[in-house]
Amino acid sequence: MHETIRRGAAGLAALFLSAPAWAAAKAEPAIPDPARDWDRLWNEVIFDITIIGILFAIVTAWFIWQGRRRPGNEVGASPKLSPASAVGWVVIPIFVFLSIDLYTAANGWVLWNTYRDVPDKRLEIKLESGMYSWDYTYPNGVRTQNELVVPAGMPVVLRMTSRDTLHSHYIPDFRVKEDSMPGRITYLWFNPTKPGEHIVTCAEYCGVMHGYMAGRIIVKAPEEYAAWIKGEETKLAAASAPEPAAPAASKPAKPAAKKT
């Protein structure tokens, strides 16, 4: 589907108009992978601007070389434009730029929807950022700091806030970041497709140690993850057991509401 929208280079503006409808109609069964889509759109846009840049640069260099001052060429001879061609030089570029703009916008919007529509099947994590740590809370109440362990193949959504200054939870490998701040809850989601480790780094200036505010996303195979979270849950229960009255089972927080 992404391919089709990209290939229809002819009806660029028409595509733009149909983009919202197209985005709404999309009902892909598979979990989208925003990072992979990001790479695709990024490469495409970079390819386009490289072509445009090279064209402009060649034309400019050619004019410069052709127009160098030399005997017999002591004064410029730029053509006097007729009113029609003067207008043409405004209208035609406007249409060219406009179609490039709208085409880019349509593609950008489609990708935006992928980034903002969180799949229903997902792991909800609460994130509180602070100077200078990332504090994650799992649906069952398990907490970790600067290390988020997740199962491969399960989309992860972070509901983020901050207890002090601005921070931005940036995962370069997943091509995603979003600021967190006091007083609001922001979110981002990513799709860890296979086991591995990914750096988390802070992308919003948050104070003296901003450059050191880093963490890791550890993606485990689903079975390993299940074992890990079980272990953590048991530890949590053990830690709260000594409190005489409180039974461990009542401790875990309620899973966050499903609505995005």
Partner: protein, 523 residues
Amino acid sequence: MNLKEWIFTTDHKRVGVLYLIGSIAAFAVAGIMAMLMRIELSTIGPTITANPTQYNVWLYTHGAVMILGFQIPALTGFFANYCIPLMIGAKDVAFPRVNALSVWLFYVGVILALLTFFIPDPPDVMWTGYPPYSTITTGNTAMYSFTVLILGFASIIGGVNFLTTVAYMRAPGITLNKLNIFVWCTLAAFVLQLIFVPVLGTAVSLISMDKYLGTNFFDPTKGGDVLTYQNLFWFYSHPAVYVIFLPFIGVVYEIISVHARNAVFNYKMVVYGGVGGIVLLAGEVWVHHLYVSGMADWLRIGQMVTTLLISIPVGLMMIGLIGTLYKGSIAFNTPMLYGLGVVFLFLIGGLTGIPLAVPSLTLGVSDTYYVVGHFHYVMAVAGTFAIFGGVYHWFPKMTGKMYNEFWGKLGFWLTFVGVNIVFWIMMDIGVQGMPRRYYDYAHFPQFESAHQWMTAGAAVLAVGFAIAVLNWIMGAINGKPAGDNPWNSPSLEWTTVSPPPHGNWPSPPAVAEDWHPYGYKKA
């Protein structure tokens, strides 16, 4: 030369030169900050300071002083003052004393900014000053607020002055379609300043009120909102990039037209489509600085479209510029090299901005070195090249003397090579994930050699800039006499003697019916 005369001067040309001296001094200081940062970043871990705050103060000073103390004053202070009255055939500006007030306020602002180095807790809030950090840091946020307020005020009163001057003081025969492109561009920049600076003033005042007077505009625990500041700040600071862009591209139009001896291509397209279009769109795109800030989704999508539309007027201005080269008679002297350099740098900077207009793509690259590389190309370096080219271009007019071509060209090539090394690599490591405003990058060891290349490139470009400034100083002292119109330009500023006397012309210049600032004739 009498110091008292300079201090009490109301002559627009001297006010302009005072602006130039102050802004070049500011550039030198902010440039040294850049070098210190580059040296610090050349190795992982501490290099020349073990204190991250020290780095953050350098970065704050570099950003704030480059923009508020160098580029805006050089463009809307120096060039506007020096050139606009001469280009429209006026004796002076409409309110010469207000003009003097504006330059001295500018000096107060710059001195305040430089006091950063002498107070115990200098500001470390970056040039953006985002709360909550700016309201809880031990650094001196008030200093930031006052610097911005004073420099902003200096610029606003300059704006009123120039709008009045161009409206009422044009020599007979200079109709609106015979204004230099630079004049149009600068007027547009002043219109933007007048509309938007007050918003910035509000924003920075409110953070100091929150910090020192106990108000809670940005404190959500007491009913405030963090994002409000970012909206106010960028509501000004995006238009501010056009306050820089418009005059600098205007300077480049003058340079390219004169040294290609070629009329500006499709003048009305440039003025109404390019300059006019930018003024219309300038205020509707600020959210592209807030794509990852947690803004409402509909705003991000809406301003993606407006931001992309900016490519239309900017593209028209590029077409006008490149068209002016077509069938020209191009001399490759120093000002022209800088002018042509801007065309290429701006091309890179402008095009690399297109991905940054798309919110989904910025989720990957926002707040990384990609952005730092992009805006240095498009504004910082392109603007600085335009300023340096413009100073070279009008140098014979200001001093009556000629600079040295050899050193001029050498300086140009060193800076041109240097900036491309530094800022191209920045974009590259940015895409790979290097975030901006990092004192240290211990968890990104793979970028160390890239950082070392950038530091080397920065050293090269610093030498180039230093050569240029020395070239001016030497030229002003003992350059060869240049004559009144060495470039053979019909534009009005070249019709008076060099340097022009107080009052500019012995008797007001009159222009012929078929005169045009870009009507070149065989020499």
